[in-house]
Amino acid sequence: MKFKDGLFKYIALFCALCSVIFLFGIILSIFKEGYPIFRIFGVVKFLFTRGWYPTHEEASFGILALITGSFVVTVGSLIVAIPLGVGSAIFLSEIAGFKTREILKPFVELLAGIPSVIYGLFGMAFLAPFIMRLFNLPTGLNAFTTSIILGIMVVPIISSISEDAISSIPKELREASYALGANKWETIYKVVLPAAKSGIFASISLGFGRAIGETMLVLMVAGGAAVIPKSIFSPVRPMTSAIAAEMGEAVVGSEHYYALFGIAIVLFVITFFSNLITESVKRKVMRAQNL
């Protein structure tokens, strides 16, 4: 019996260690494959110049337009998702009655379960032509359309985590607020939201990580032009879609191949820091709740 206990302990330990091994394995391999491009092309030139022409005779690997593309659609999607997500969280946890909540909540959760390729299909086949006609644009495959769909995809993440944060605010706070004569809206706006702000912030930064890492949807809807957008209606080529579209056909060991891993490093660093921020905020929230 004791032996079995011990064995199980080590198996569980091994499982836990696996994540660490995988993480370091991934970091090591993308840095190993991506590092050469920094040496060949230069870090500054790679990060801060335009001109993504990886297969041209005089190839250039400036990813500034790709980085800009990623940030434009990510920020755009958050502009869509934050009001919708936080708004629905407030409604679900503060305003809706038990019945409404039980009906509405599964729908928000279902939205989270839709594969991103389906969002992409929807965007490509319906939303893009609609946006094109609505604004009389040359093409509907642009940063604006992408932001909207990406935003819809991020809503459930922001909504469910914000809702947890809001629900975990002690009842006493609300009662104290009502006792002071505040109405419902004042209580939500001045007491509940400020108290839940770390949790809401964590949900937003998680949504940011989800949006910037999304690949299939942006590959299908963003238009793929490696250009620094002049307006929100310009097509863009986010980093993820460049990797996904080109890796399959880049010759292993070529500069292009290294450059795609270079993009992966940039993406990894960005998501690493956004996760770090999320985690530290989450810790803070948990500590505050224990007190």
Binding site: R50, G51, Y53, P54, T55, H56, E57, A65, M124, A125, A128, P129, M132, P138, T139, G140, L141, L219, M220, G223, G224, A225, A226, V227, S234, P235, R237, S241, A244, A245, E246, G248, E249, A250, V251, V252, H256
Partner: protein, 271 residues
């Protein structure tokens, strides 16, 4: 589709590695990603008929295919361009007699929205559109509408033909849309009144209008007789004239059923 192919290739590799001992029943090939889908489809069909034979197909690009053939690490080098004199010389040095077997033709149709009044275009005009010199259909006698230049990803085989036959040494303009598949280009052109795109001949459909290029209608016939300019042959290179299993496989690709797979993949059969 691409992932599906990768899974297939991975599966094939797995299957073929388990039967290392039966290496006499094995054909290996690598090279151009343009030729790869044809080679893959034909390999599957060929293995269906001859279950004892294993064929492994890998990508890597035309250069890799030719280099592997010269290094004798594959039986067939897949290439979407003719072998260069330099490569031929290296091959001779290593005692490899590289023979290029043309197995299919690859043609590009230039397509616009069905409502676009244009019916033909010159290669120079296509180049001017994609390099950003012409940006409005008005300049070409059409309506006052911005041109949306739609291209394939720069790593694709389709872009490679376009680069070779149209762009020459020039770069596409930065704001050209870069899409991930022929199908996506066709769909987007179909839905974009100001759009222009290029797709493999096999992807032509009712929803888009193919333009005459230099006065020639793109069709299997004009590609086969060489009058249509945006086309090129696809090769399977072998060491010496094909013999044994390799000959059987290439004969299959050239047979009626092989050529049917060629057109299913979006390319132009030889006859």
């Amino acid at each position: 589709m691409k992932t599906f192919m990768k899974i297939l290739v991975a599966g094939l590799l797995l299957v073929s590695s388990t039967s290392l001992f039966a290496s006499k029943n094995r054909i290996t090939m690598s090279g151009s990603t343009t030729v790869l889908p044809v080679a893959q489809k034909c390999a599957e069909a060929f293995m269906d008929i001859n279950p004892k034979i294993n064929i492994s197909v890998r990508g890597g690009g035309s250069g890799v295919g030719i280099a592997s053939l010269i290094a004798k690490s594959v039986d067939i080098g897949l290439s979407s361009r003719a072998i260069k004199d330099k490569e031929l010389a290296t091959a001779k040095q290593k005692g490899v007699n590289a023979v290029d077997n043309i197995i299919a033709l690859d043609g590009l149709a230039v397509v616009v929205h069905p409502q676009n009044p244009m019916t033909e275009i010159t290669i120079k005009t296509i180049k001017d559109i994609y390099t950003g010199k012409i940006t409005n259909w008005k300049a070409l006698g059409g309506p006052d509408r911005e041109i949306v230049a739609i291209s394939r990803d720069v790593a694709s085989g389709t872009f490679e033909v376009f680069k070779e036959k149209v762009l020459g040494g020039d770069k596409t303009k930065e704001d050209a849309l870069m899409l991930a598949s022929n199908k996506a280009v066709a769909t987007t052109v179909q839905e974009t009144p100001g759009g222009i795109g290029y797709i493999g001949l096999g992807y032509l459909s009712e929803g888009v209008k193919a333009l005459k290029v230099e006065g020639v209608v793109p069709s299997n016939k004009t590609v086969q007789d060489g009058t249509y300019k945006l086309a090129r042959p696809l090769y399977m290179l072998t060491n010496g004239t094909p013999k044994g299993l390799v000959k059987e496989y290439i004969d299959f690709v050239l047979s009626a059923s092989g050529q049917k797979l060629v057109s299913e993949t979006g390319y132009v059969p030889l006859q």
